[in-house]
């Protein structure tokens, strides 16, 4: 069943309860995920100071390469006593590219209903197909705070699904795996020499001061020195910035990604090789997605697959 029909059904089911005020839209103030913008200075691994390295021309990876990404669709389906009830469909998949063609090799999906614990309890039995996820007590006082909390829970749920499908994929394949996002938040990839994290987000920047300026003015086709981000939670990783497209005339963040690999794989040669692979992944262009300058086509293909179902 498509997500649209799934949400329609749960609204219909909840609507049978007289206490539920059916809703169909998200309050604009909380659209999207709240990002925590900050600087988190990193430890340089490769050079004594932050250097800029030319990585060479784009070079396609001849081996099979997989891409992992997840999606989430969130809708407010109703309110009970001024508290939102949020439905979400989260999904994650791995698509393996062999000979240029993609095949979906792992996929998971979960529908969750997020709300005040007592509300979810009282609605039990009125809806089907959704797993209840209660909001923490601190998020239930203000409706918008509740929505923000719901977002956070759903993000966590999506990350969990991504880890799960990655793990499932790795049980059967040792192909290169490009993960959309960071590796450092997951315990799955800490020793995986064939996992490559590509982060499009710059909410947390790895340097400050002159190094930050250097980092953000990285020329196209160049990478920074390898460093260890300060933001790892589960296990340390190695990382570097890579400019996929010239930023001149656009924006400092245009075409800038941060690459992560596991510690055992972090050699200079490997950083250059992976960078050249990623430069090759600029084509085909992932337009019309607005993030086309940082969104690799393989990752976009996973997203498109998940959104189409």
């Amino acid at each position: 069943m498509s997500s649209r029909l799934l949400f329609q059904r749960v609204r219909k089911e909840l609507g049978r309860d007289a206490r539920v005020v059916i809703a169909t839209a998200m309050p604009p103030a909380v659209e999207g995920r709240p990002d925590d913008y900050r600087l988190a200075p990193s430890r340089l691994i490769e050079d004594d100071q932050l250097e800029i390295h030319a990585v060479g021309g784009a070079q396609a990876c001849d081996d099979p390469m997989a891409f992992l990404d997840g999606t989430q669709r969130i809708e407010v389906v109703g309110y009970v006593e001024a508290t939102p009830v949020v439905a979400a469909l989260v999904a994650a998949a791995v698509r393996l590219r062999v000979g240029g063609h993609f095949t979906t090799v792992a996929r998971q999906q979960r529908a969750v209903l997020v709300g005040r614990p007592d509300v979810l309890e009282s609605l039990a039995g009125t809806y089907t197909g959704f797993d209840p996820v209660p909001l923490p007590a601190e998020d239930v006082l203000h409706p918008l705070k509740s929505l923000e909390g719901a977002h956070r829970l759903i993000d966590i749920e999506r990350s969990r699904l991504e880890r799960d499908v990655g793990w499932v994929f790795r049980q059967t394949s040792d192909a290169w795996l490009v993960v959309d996002g960071v590796l450092a938040d997951s315990g799955v990839w800490q020793d995986d020499a064939r996992a490559i994290g590509v982060s499009k987000s710059h909410a947390t920047l790895p340097f400050g001061g002159a190094d930050l300026e250097r980092y953000l003015t990285l020329p196209s086709g160049h990478r920074t020195s390898v460093f260890e981000p300060a933001t790892w939670r589960i296990a340390p990783v190695r990382s570097w910035g890579l400019r996929l497209w010239p930023h001149e005339g656009h924006d400092l963040f245009h075409g800038l990604v941060r690459v992560e690999v596991a510690v055992p794989a972090a050699t200079t040669a490997h950083a250059d090789l992976v960078s050249r692979w990623l430069l090759a992944e600029r084509a085909p262009l992932s337009r019309p997605d607005v993030r086309w300058d940082r969104l690799l086509y393989g990752v976009a293909a996973v997203e498109r697959h998940l959104r189409a179902r």
Partner: protein
């Protein structure tokens, strides 16, 4: 399963068409028949168009993504691409209520599916099946025989077949020959007897139908798959007029090893009955009609006495008709100035008819005999499952028109009286755009073909026609063809309005259709179907002319011997040559035609009898003058 139906708000499924997508390597293409399965409903369709596109938003993105270098760009991922097929619905099950095509699984059609999709199950089964195999549908490794309904191909429900295709591929002729083979072998016995009459209008196209052709193993496999025995038309009979000399046949089928071509010779009566053919639009008026009627009813073949001149005429030949006209003109001239009317007919009208009739006698010398001897088609004794070929390729266009008009009219008369010998006759006319053009003057032949196409099916008179440009044929002639067949067509023809209902993809396929493949429209098929057919089991015209080259034109005496030898192989050539030596050409031709027409047991004796006693020329000794008187001595005597 090869695909799934897709429908969006912008491109929804309807009861008559739908879209489905497949994997990139699916064995499906334009013309493929598919089956859609969904709970409680099954839909059959034929692919009419195909689309492929990727997720590329604009071509400029490809340029940008490759840094403007389409050759050197590294592109490790192939863009997602869709193979989308537009499909026209052939049949719904159940038929009612008629609904939009559901979002179901799509399968390639099997043999049984093809039969149902094309409604062939309604006429190929039961106690009296009427299916006639016409070719094989092939797609995705599947092959299924395609049957047409005899009731809709040969009447009475619908009838006639028209085939269009570029010239030079021999597809049209081959297809007609193959269709006649299947019809003769599979036309249901309960529907009666059937024969075919083919006009050979160009070269040697249809002149070797009784000779086996060369078939490949693949051809034989196709015949086997269709349940047809690959064999030539062994009983085919050939007719052709003489050349102007009256003894050499005006045909390329004259090789002595072949069954002899029979001469087609008509006299004044045969021509006069179809005199309208000879008249152009300006000629056709009541006066001309009245005078022709007068000739036909009162003069030709009868004894006619002109009360003005007191002369009696017995007009049986063109020569005698000319004498009749001469007498009229002499009478009017003798009457003096102002005498322009003879028995209510104006002299100008009489002269016009005389010119027209004289014209056919001159331009069609060889077809039209001056002596009244006639050799014609076997009216009344047409044989079941036999082919009769009339070779008019070498005839003057006027004479061709006359042949068409008279033969078709005679077929019609006999079918109306139910005494032709068969209940159904297929008439094959090639180059239809020449005989029934969309534009141009309204000729007798065009009117006759129109009438045949509109009313022939009730009589069992069925027109199989062919042409290079369907758009140039009279709309009512091709429009009345229940079954239309299309071979390869050129782009100009495909751009004409008549092909507007075909999708661009089908047009593209038609423009490149290989030899041996056709597209067919038949009343039971709601959409055109592509099929392939085997090479006909008969010798092609080109091969035939190489294997059986025509005889070189021989001297008059030798030609007479050959014609007589066709009747009796034991004829002694020298004796015949001695017999005709010194005789006038007209006498010999008259005797020859009479012998051919009567087919006597003793050919030589009959020929001698017809030739008549020779009136030998006698040398008269010049008179020597009056002998001088005997001299006498009497000087006063």
């Amino acid at each position: 399963m090869i695909g799934r139906v897709v429908a969006t708000e912008m491109k929804p499924s309807t009861p008559h068409q739908f879209l489905f997508w497949t994997a990139r390597d699916a064995q499906v293409g334009i013309g493929s028949i598919v089956r859609v399965e969904s709970p409680g409903r099954r839909v059959y369709g034929v692919v009419t168009d195909a689309f492929a596109y990727s997720d590329l938003a604009t071509p400029m993105d490809a340029v940008y993504g490759s840094d403007g270098d389409p050759v050197g760009a590294v592109e490790p991922s192939h863009r997602s691409e869709i193979r989308l097929f537009q499909t026209a619905v052939l049949r719904h099950e159940p038929e009612e209520p008629l609904q939009a095509v559901p979002l179901g699984e799509v399968h390639l059609a099997s043999d049984a599916d093809v039969a149902v999709a094309l409604r062939m199950d309604t006429y190929t089964a039961g106690e009296k099946p009427t299916g006639i195999p016409i070719g094989l549908y092939a797609a995705g490794g599947l092959e299924a025989p395609i049957f047409v309904d005899a009731d809709f191909l040969l009447g009475p429900e619908a009838a006639h077949l028209n085939i269009t295709g570029v010239s030079g591929l021999a597809t049209k002729t081959s297809a007609i020959e193959f269709f006649l083979t299947t019809i003769f072998q599979r036309f249901p016995v309960h529907k009666g007897r059937i024969a075919a009459l083919c006009f050979n209008v160009k070269g040697p196209d249809l002149l070797f139908l009784d000779q086996p052709g060369t078939l490949t193993a693949e051809d034989r496999r196709l015949y086997d798959r269709l349940g047809i025995e690959p064999r030539p038309f062994t009983g085919a009979r050939y007719f052709a007029p003489f050349k102007a000399d009256g003894v050499n046949l005006n045909s390329l089928r004259t090789h002595p090893d072949l069954n002899p071509t029979e001469p087609l010779v008509w006299g004044l009566r045969e021509v006069l009955d179809y005199a309208e053919v000879l008249l152009n639009r300006d000629d056709v008026d009541a006066k001309a009609d009245a005078f022709i009627d007068f000739l036909a009813e009162r003069v030709v073949g009868k004894e006619f006495t002109d009360e003005h001149t007191g002369k009696t005429f017995a007009v049986r030949s063109f020569a005698e008709l000319e004498g009749f006209f001469r007498a009229i003109f002499d009478f009017l001239e003798n009457m003096g100035r102002g005498a322009e009317i003879w028995r209510t007919h104006h002299v100008a009208t009489i002269r016009k008819i005389r010119n027209r009739l004289g014209n056919i006698s001159t331009r069609s010398k060889g077809l039209v005999t001056d002596d009244g001897e006639v050799n014609d088609l076997p009216w009344g004794t047409f044989q079941d499952r036999s082919v009769y070929v009339v070779d008019v390729a070498g005839l003057d266009p006027l004479a061709q028109d006359l042949v068409f008009a008279r033969i078709v009219s005679k077929l019609r008369e006999h079918l109306e009286r139910r005494d032709l010998g068969v209940e159904h006759i297929v008439v094959f006319v090639d180059e239809l755009n020449k005989y029934a053009p969309q534009d141009g003057q309204d000729t007798y032949v065009r009117k006759m073909l129109l009438d045949l196409s509109e009313r022939g099916r009730y009589l069992g008179l069925v027109l199989f026609s062919a042409q290079q440009f369907r758009s140039q044929v009279h709309k009512r002639v091709v429009g009345n063809a229940g079954t239309s067949v299309f071979g390869r067509l050129d782009a100009d023809e495909l751009s004409t309005p008549g092909y507007g209902i075909l999708s661009p993809a089908i047009k593209a396929k038609l423009a490149a259709l290989p030899k041996g493949e056709l597209m067919i429209r038949h009343p039971h098929f709601t959409q055109p179907i592509f099929l392939k057919f085997p090479r006909p089991a008969v010798l092609s015209g080109r091969e035939g002319i190489e294997r059986f080259p025509p005889e070189v034109e021989v001297p008059f005496e030798e030609a007479v011997v050959r014609r007589l030898r066709a009747l009796d192989k034991g004829i002694q050539g020298n004796r015949i040559k001695d017999l005709v030596a010194g005789r006038t050409t007209d006498d010999v031709v008259r005797a020859l035609h009479a012998t051919i027409r009567n087919r006597p047991d003793d050919v030589t004796a009959f020929f001698i009898k017809c030739l008549g006693r020779e009136v030998r020329t006698r040398t008269v000794a010049p008179r020597t003058g009056i002998a001088p008187l005997k001299a006498i001595d009497d000087p006063y005597a």
